[in-house]
Amino acid sequence: MIHILLFAGIQEELGMDRLEIESEGIQTVRELKAYLGQKYPSQVLKQSMTAINENFVTEEEEIKEGDTVAFIPPVSGG
């Protein structure tokens, strides 16, 4: 199982703030983004950075069973 957190623009596009998916067949962030992009049309996902367990990672990063993956749309704090 992979835990996925959604915020801001993506959260609104997908109409949910979290989802869980089976990790079979998904090994990297790039693969997860491609999988979600097919299932849920999202413009914001493409611009988003990714964090695994609260650390920013690249698209090449591997996802492990039980990881929490968060998509981070362009931030606008401050």
Binding site: V44, E54, P74, V75, G78
Partner: protein, 158 residues
């Protein structure tokens, strides 16, 4: 002595004095604060109110990371940052950064560094509410917006 939390995301009004007390000490001669407030007009458009959302645990972790970066660059600086989330009205305070140092130059530089880094790496998002609509604002350097629904070419922001 209570544990002092130097880096916080809160959903209540920020008390500026609290942050100043966190960084004040007998060793410092200069304390700077940055107070980010909600402005009524941005680019000629009237904001009714803002809504801030955060990935709270990661946001606090990233604020701490900014604190560590500052400690690296300015070893005698001490920093506290609080960011508010939820609905904010015009003139409400969204963020307060307090930096103390024995020397004023450091207090200014480290403070400005902190706000720049917040705008780059801290997972907090702001939604503008206008009379005619809403929009999640942002890119890492706050120079473009992406209205929900507008097609954005892949790679445009890479």
């Amino acid at each position: 002595m209570n544990e002092v939390r130097l880096f916080e995301i809160v959903d209540q009004p920020i008390i500026i004095e609290d942050l100043i007390h966190k960084v004040a000490s007998r060793e410092v001669g200069a304390i700077t604060t940055f107070i980010g407030t909600v402005r009524e007009f941005t680019g000629g458009k009237k904001t009714l109110f803002l809504e801030y959302q955060a990935y709270q645990t990661m946001a606090e972790k990233m604020l701490s990371k900014i604190g560590e970066e500052i400690k690296e660059k300015w070893p005698d600086a001490m920093v506290a940052i609080t960011h508010r989330i939820g609905k904010l009205d015009i003139m409400d305070i969204a963020v307060v950064i307090a930096v103390s140092s024995p020397h004023r130059k450091t207090a200014y530089e480290a403070n400005e560094y902190a706000i720049e880094r917040i705008k780059e790496i801290v997972p907090i998002w702001k939604k503008e509410h206008w009379e005619d609509g809403t929009e999640w604002v942002g890119n890492q350097l706050e120079t473009v917006r992406y209205p929900a629904g507008r097609p954005i070419e892949e790679g445009e922001l890479k």
